[in-house]
Amino acid sequence: MTNNPVNRLKTDEEIITISGLNKWYGDFHVLKDIDLTVKQGERIVICGPSGSGKSTLIRCINRLEEFQQGSLVVDGTELIEDVKNIETVRREVGMVFQHFNLFPHLSILENLTLGPIWVQKMPKAEAEAVAMKYLERVKIPDQANKYPGQLSGGQQQRVAIARSLCMSPKIMLFDEPTSALDPEMIKEVLDVMIELAEEGMTMLCVTHEMGFAKKVADRVIFMDAGEIVEQNTPHEFFDSPQVDRTQQFLQQILNH
């Protein structure tokens, strides 16, 4: 199988190309002239103050949000108003949410097999085998027959990651995956994400976990008021931020 992320090495191939992207909510200009390219296998951490448009930006990538201006190409598919288009892209892009968003009426196993069975038309037995494989990777195969409500927050978030991985995505989006978790559960989720990064998954991750950023990110992006203010390697970004606003922001979260 070619979709094993381990085999996916970093290349120079651009997998996401965003150029001149603008988005408004009514009169409110939420994303301003965003230009961003992401290479295959690249790990990007996005940070910035609340309301700066981080979520909105990554949600544009799998078209949970629409935008009014600019262009966005994901793995060769340009995101335009075409239903087929959207579904193709969504199959290739996994997303992990702050509040997990597991389906409460389905067991863990059913949560994981739903996408493969209905979207990829995989036979049930095969889908279950894939699901168990990923549950083992996130270290909770023994919870397969429980329901989401019976799991801790950290376990639920790991299930949510596994659910996305079952679709063999080429890109994973994370929107503050640990900020709804109790401190003692953050590590178990970050560990899974670090492992995923090490295997070469292309990742865009909105998070304020600076330890994680330093450890795995190829690039850290700082957003404020709908703009990309600064982007750099973690080393440069944390040690010698170029812009005032970045410095202020870093001081705030580091003193916090």
Binding site: N101, H105, S164
Partner: protein, 368 residues
């Protein structure tokens, strides 16, 4: 070793005197304030003066055996009236030899309801739901008979309480998916689908059910092709379905509002299509959160089937009135008749409420 002392728990003390016991209960619940005391005494007095007479009439001096009015010699209720007419009360004029068909239809309904309780989710989805949807068709085939090579029983003869039950069930089964589709339409971004849904929902919820029945018997035929005559009962069925679908759509709307946005987003991000998302993710959760209101709506519809007497359908209430005007039973048995109808309906509605409570408890513990 010998330094260790054995632990002896201190003996339990009795609860403070003024918190337990029947005297305290009485004080707290019935005599806690002067006003409460007055109310309790007054109500107690009224009950004591009325109850003995009522009990005497209902049970002690009631007439239980016999088969004609003449058997009612005591002062109390003439339950003979009810037992003599019981077949009509339950089956209308359905031929006595063919009653097994009505029983079979009711039994199928009960078995499927019980089965949906019993079996696990997989079986429920694959077998029981399709059976539910087929039930109205199967029941009609059995009751009518002509499609199955049985003796045909015209719908004029169908009646009694079994008709209330089967008609309500058949309406609910069709109205449930229809109401869901209307509710979906109401949320739709397509202006046409949305306006149509809103008009339908608001019309069938806003017009009194009695008016709907009259319209159904007078106006519906105008919509059918010339020359076809559609059975009165079928017309009533259609009206009940539409009426019920309006209410169900409103119930579902409340359910939709309770589903967090994140559920839609998670489904979208997996690449599920609109219908996959709706049926696999949203519908089950909407049903779950709406369950109390769904069951309350069922009870309402079931009680509303008695309005059918007005347009000459022989449901239970109208059978009772027929019996009351029968020349051999003119002794004034209205009390017995209506009390019996009330008790039968109350029993079924109360059981439905019990089932509802039970289902809610089950849903609440199941998946948490």
């Amino acid at each position: 070793m010998n330094k260790l002392q054995t632990f002896t728990p201190s003996p339990a003390r009795p609860a403070p005197e003024n918190t337990v016991g029947p005297a305290v209960w009485l004080k707290n619940n019935l005599f806690s304030t002067p006003l409460d005391t007055v109310a309790t005494l007054l109500l107690g007095y009224i009950l004591l003066t009325i109850l003995p007479g009522v009990i005497d009439w209902l049970f002690l001096s009631a007439n239980w055996t016999g088969d004609s009015q003449d058997a009612c010699v005591n002062d109390g209720a003439c339950w003979v009236f009810v037992s003599a007419w019981s077949q009509q009360f339950f089956y209308g004029s359905y031929p006595t030899d063919e009653l097994w068909r009505v029983n079979l239809s009711i039994a199928m309904l009960v078995v499927i309801i019980a089965a949906s309780y019993q079996f696990e989710k997989g079986v429920r989805e694959k077998i029981i739901i399709p059976l539910f949807l087929l039930l109205p068709v199967i029941s009609i085939a059995i009751l009518d008979g002509s499609y199955l090579g049985l003796e045909r029983v015209s719908t004029d003869l169908w009646g009694g309480f079994s008709l209330n039950v089967l008609l309500a069930a058949a309406s609910i089964i069709v109205a449930f998916p229809l109401g869901f589709i209307w509710a979906l339409g109401r949320r739709s971004h397509m202006p046409f689908a949305r306006s149509i849904s809103i008009i339908l929902i608001e019309f069938f919820r806003g017009v009194p059910v009695l008016a709907l029945f009259f319209m159904g018997s007078v106006m519906l035929p105008l919509f059918f092709p010339e020359g076809t005559s559609v059975d009165k009962l079928v017309r009533v069925w259609i009206v009940l379905i539409l009426f019920m679908a309006g209410y169900m759509a409103e119930v579902f709307r409340g359910g939709f509002n309770a589903i967090p946005q994140g559920q839609y987003e998670a489904a979208d991000s997996l690449g599920l299509s609109y219908w996959q998302k709706t049926v696999l993710i949203i519908l089950p959760q909407v049903i779950k959160v709406s369950m109390p209101n769904i069951l309350a709506t069922f009870v309402m519809l079931f009680k509303n089937t008695t309005f059918l007497l007005i347009i000459g359908i022989f449901e239970m209430l109208s059978t009772t009135q027929t019996a009351l005007s029968n020349s051999r039973w003119l002794g004034g048995h209205a009390e017995e008749g209506y009390i019996f109808v009330a008790v039968v309906f109350w029993t079924v509605c109360f059981s439905m409420s019990m089932i509802a409570t039970n289902i809610e408890r089950k849903l609440n513990t199941d998946h948490q």
